[in-house]
Subunit: 376 residues, 2 copies
């Protein structure tokens, strides 16, 4: 994996770059649609490339381990071949899901014991096990196994949690280095900064992570309930202590304005379920503001969903039709809303990149943010 910084914004820490993997080059800053269990919910892979213009998607280790399982993934020749996706993939390590989804989870030095949310079967995720699973999945970028410290956390808990994440990181790196990719292309391991909202912990964690000289680095444990201002403050601090010549990935963030603000702090990669999950609930992010498409006011609005978007969905179907599909409970509603929102997110980061290259990112961002937050 190679990361090339193409441009830096003169008035912020925003950067434009090129991240090259064996499955192709990603233009950063980038948003990565979430394909939890081998599918970005409600769309197919051709729609992801052609309409959404996704450059990289996410998979989730916890979900893929439970279904279809590593045996089937290995028999298929890895996740790319299994799902028919030849662009880059990143897999989340599953730490977050073990604590948010599974039952009877128990944190130990060895790893996390948990019961499947599907059938109650018992499993242990250790750093070594999670590396092995991610070898079987075969993502281009694999994440270290961490504890995503909940918010709020007492200082002592946050410190112990961070230290555990650091010890697990060392084991992840050791095991990853001892194993080989299974499918003939290379994989990169990204460590994760934790430390809750405590500046000294975050600084220590970012410095520890930086000392690993990984191909890229992630910031975890943000956008978990803390105020936005605090997220930005902690993210800025992490970016400051993470290497400038490596991509920075802010996990699980966020709203369109969160993304622009964090780009200005030096973040290069984002993922979030918001565009798909909120889309499925009828919330649309558009170039004129936020729409609740189920609202009666759209019932006879025959204007396009968003003519500003270059895809054959947002500039083909009307708001009135999409509202009708939601009210009638049609599956097509979910498909259209998901494609629209993801397309909007991808266009947003693409425009952000263009403005970084032009040198007017900061001014553009200040103009965009009130627009993005407008409720129509």
């Amino acid at each position: 994996m190679e990361f090339q910084l193409t441009a830096k914004d003169p008035h912020s820490h925003a950067r434009a770059g090129l991240l090259t993997t064996d499955h192709g080059t990603i233009q950063t800053p980038i948003f990565m649609p979430v394909g939890t269990v081998g599918s970005v919910k409600a769309l197919n892979q051709q729609q992801l490339t052609d309409a959404v213009k996704a450059q990289i998607i996410l998979g989730n280790t916890y979900h893929l381990y439970l279904r279809p399982g590593t045996e089937i993934l290995e028999a298929a020749g890895g996740l790319h071949r299994f799902i028919g996706w030849d662009r880059p993939i990143l897999t989340d390590s599953g730490g977050y899901q073990v604590f948010s989804l599974s039952n009877n989870r128990k944190l130990k030095e060895e790893g996390a014991l948990f019961q499947s949310h599907i059938d109650g079967s018992k499993h242990l995720f250790s750093p070594e096990k999670v590396m092995d699973i991610q070898r079987s999945i075969g993502a281009d970028i694999v994440m270290a196994f961490d504890e995503c410290t909940p918010y709020p956390a007492e200082y002592d808990y946050a410190k112990k949690s961070m230290e555990l994440t650091h010890r697990w990181l060392a084991r992840c790196i050791h095991h990853f280095d001892q194993t080989m990719p299974l499918y003939g292309y290379s994989q990169s391991l990204f460590p994760i900064v934790q430390g809750s909202t405590y500046q000294d912990l975050r600084k220590a964690s970012a410095e520890y992570v930086a000392s690993m000289h990984a191909d890229g680095n992630a910031i975890g444990g943000l956008s978990v309930g803390e105020p936005e201002a605090l997220m930005y403050e902690i993210c800025a601090l992490c970016c400051e202590h993470l290497p400038e010549d490596k991509p920075r990935y802010l996990m699980g963030v966020g709203t369109p304005w969160n993304i622009l603000e964090n780009i200005s702090l030096g973040v290069d990669m984002f993922d979030c379920v918001m565009p798909t999950r909120n889309g499925r609930n009828g919330m649309l992010f558009t170039s004129k503001g936020i729409i609740n498409i189920k609202n009666k006011k759209w019932a006879t609005d025959f204007s396009l969903i968003d003519e500003g978007l270059d895809n054959n969905i947002s500039n083909y179907y009307s708001k009135a039709y999409l509202r009708h599909l939601f009210i009638a409970g049609e599956f097509l509603a979910l498909q259209i809303a998901s494609i629209h929102n993801l397309s909007f997110y991808l266009q947003l980061v693409t425009e952000a990149r263009a403005h970084i290259l032009q040198g007017d990112f900061q001014r553009w961002k200040q103009e965009m943010i009130p627009l993005l937050k407008t409720r129509l």
Copy 2:
């Protein structure tokens, strides 16, 4: 509307034709995907044209009247514009749904009183009202309001039901002739033959319907629980007494082999929810036979869903991946299965047409039917 008979099979009553509407020409025999409430479930309109190659789709008067309602449809400029579909549309009259879906329905000479299955509101569907609604919807082909006689029916009930359908038909035609299309293109009204499984009633009904000299004629009240042999016998009798120079539409039929058998009896048009509904339950019709894709045997079958189909879904995704999507409860499963099955139905009627033109339809049909019924 014009119907041109292009070829007749020398060894059966199968015909190939061209049905020209103001929204384009349909090659018959044809299968029409069902888009009940303005959406063929789980796919978008581009997928319907590009992958499925649908030439005409169905809408349903009962559903569209309740949601979004005629006011919104008229404001949109009709169903075609509302849903973004510029090929032909046929609307079912709603008689079937009133009796299968609504509550507290009551049949009177005037029409059918019923309560909405959505909110319990009370409505009257009369022949005149149903013609008005179908003017508002603006389908190219609109159906007469009938009572779909349930099976089995006593002779007396079937006779009275048929006579009511005939009286309603006269009112439909009268009212339709007194009103104008709303959107600048023409609409054709198809009457429906009823008479249950009684030969004399079916003959009388077909003769009555034929005497109306409509642009096309439909056969209703079949595939409602009667044995297949009886369906074919009644269908053959109806075809015999319906005009040869007008298209014949067999409503709500059926399995792939039902379609081939009825084509050989002289039917030109079909619709059925089977490809989409069964698809959503994991039942796939393929060129090698029927698959229950949820079955464990497909878990590691990485072969394509159906390489014999010319679309970018069936010959792109594997059986193992589609099974995984079903087991994991992903929306994409429904999209893929629906596109696949509809594409299979459309390819089947397209091949049937080619064989009619070649003159070897009957031989081909005999070879195909055992294959279509095979359970893999």
